[in-house]
Amino acid sequence: MKPLLHVEDLNAFYGDLQALFGVDFSVGEGECIAVIGSNGAGKSTLLRSVTGLHRGRSAKRLSLAGAEISQRAASEIVAMGMTLVPEGRRLFSSLTVEENLTIGRSAGRAGYWNLSRIYELFPTLLELGGRPVTKLSGGQQQMVAMGRALMTNPNLLLCDEISLGLAPVVVKGIYDNFARVRGQGTAVIIVEQDIGRALSVADRIICLRKGAVMLSGAPASFTRNQIAEAYFGVEGE
């Protein structure tokens, strides 16, 4: 399978501080990858680096569908088919729910996802369309953040801790919708604190620690101890 996203020797920096060290990985069409790792491991930096939000980075190769993207602005990369649901949702606070969704059209990518399909996916949002997003609950805001990203009709969707701070039932609802998203052939990279959930949804996992890849492969190919060791850097209990 030819890779959709190909990352080779990615290093990222915040000033003098190096946050990613020689990260290699690739994502095939339609694949689901989970990136796990403790706080500060570099998961968000990884997603922000590949989408062009974080510019302090270098890579031997960073390509999307065969095209080099390391010099491209985030807005251009989105137009090429990759976007991110950012950590903390980051909705546009002076826009209504519906405006937060329709602004995704700016990417200029027509496809399966349009406003009515988003409302079908998240029926709760239909009645809230005219509301300011600041009036929504955390779970509803997360739906808007996902809907906004889907409106750009990505081939590859990156999600950074979409379950953070949400009630378990809400998280379950959001992950149930993943099946429908993936059903459109969309590849997904999720960053998830809940390792159990990550292992259950992903085709492959990548474990980061201190900015480096400790382990990568199909969930079934690792024991719990191997994963715990990669995650914590010590023998699991």
């Binding site: 985030a74 807005s75 989105v78 980051r90 002076s94 826009l95 405006e99 602004i103 990417a107 200029g108």
Partner: protein, 289 residues
């Protein structure tokens, strides 16, 4: 002596011109948190641009707007892409220093090109025409200026709240980084915002040139009035900016009625009073988190 009603009406109409001075500043600050200290000098530059237009074309100075506005819009777009976009970042001092430098350069460029002579554009009989409404005399030209201010306010409000461009402008104002994730290039949005602001600067410059005298050094005073109007109205709010302009116009008009020497200072005093009583302006943007 003019009646009280005359003073009020003249003050309100004068406020329209001040609101036009302020609208571009309000827009640019609202979208990109940039304070352009050369704002007033660009208004003066637009006045001189109109002066050039009417000296080569035999048209009414009012029609010079049709040439000056697109010229200024293009200038704003290019200056934003070429200069202002590079100043935006963590250090708030940089845009202040650089735009202050632009202000000095612009003043001196205008001085070298046009000399220090005071100019004005003659608009013919409309300047002196007036209509009596009851006991109040309304100057036709000030009324036209006020109508323009109202039209500009409504147009900006419409662009921001009823168009796809406005949606992008507001989103970029909220979070210039994250708009990238929906395919919006924030630097280009800034350039478009600047083009719109400079178009309004163009309108303000031409109307100012017709109303009274201008010379290369009157930019900073226009900037000050614009600042005061924006802050009185509450940052990032076009209707507020219009009201802010009117408040200053009224204060000046009332001050001048008491003693002509008080005109300018009365505006500043009201500005300070508002700042003391309502530090966020009369119409603070609703806090959103």
């Amino acid at each position: 002596m003019a009646s009280g009603a005359d003073v009020i009406v003249q003050g309100i109409l004068l406020g329209g011109l001040y609101a036009l001075f302020a609208m571009g500043l309000s827009l640019v600050f609202g979208v990109m948190r940039l304070v352009n200290l050369a704002h007033g000098d660009f208004i003066v530059a637009a006045a001189f641009a109109a002066f050039c237009v009417v000296s080569v074309l035999p048209i009414h100075p009012f029609l010079a707007i049709a040439a000056v506005v697109p010229f200024m819009a293009g200038l704003g777009y290019l200056i934003q892409l070429g200069l202002f976009n590079r100043l935006l970042g963590k250090d708030p001092l940089r845009p202040l220093l650089v735009t202050f430098g632009v202000s000095v350069v612009l003043q001196n460029a205008l001085l070298m090109t046009f000399s220090a002579d005071t100019r004005r554009l003659s608009a013919g009989s409309i300047e002196t025409q007036s209509v009596d409404v009851g006991s109040v005399t309304i100057g036709v030209y000030p009324a036209v200026v006020f109508a323009m201010a109202l039209a500009v306010t409504m147009a900006l409000q419409w662009i921001f709240y009823s168009t796809a461009l406005g949606q992008r402008l507001r989103a970029t104002s909220d979070d210039p980084e994250i708009v990238g994730l929906v395919g919006v290039d924030h630097l280009r949005v800034f350039a478009i915002a600047s083009a719109i602001a400079f178009a309004v600067i163009g309108i303000a410059g031409v109307l100012m040139a017709i109303r009274g005298n201008f010379d290369p050094f009157m930019g900073p005073a226009r900037l000050l009035v614009a600042f005061e109007a924006v802050i009185i109205g509450g940052l990032g709010n076009f209707w507020g900016t219009l009201v802010g302009g009117i408040v200053i116009g009224l204060a000046q008009s009332i001050g001048a009625a008491i003693d002509p020497a008080y005109q300018t200072i009365a505006g500043h005093i009201v500005f300070f009073a508002v700042l003391l009583l309502r530090p966020d302006g009369l119409f603070p943007k609703v806090a959103h988190q």
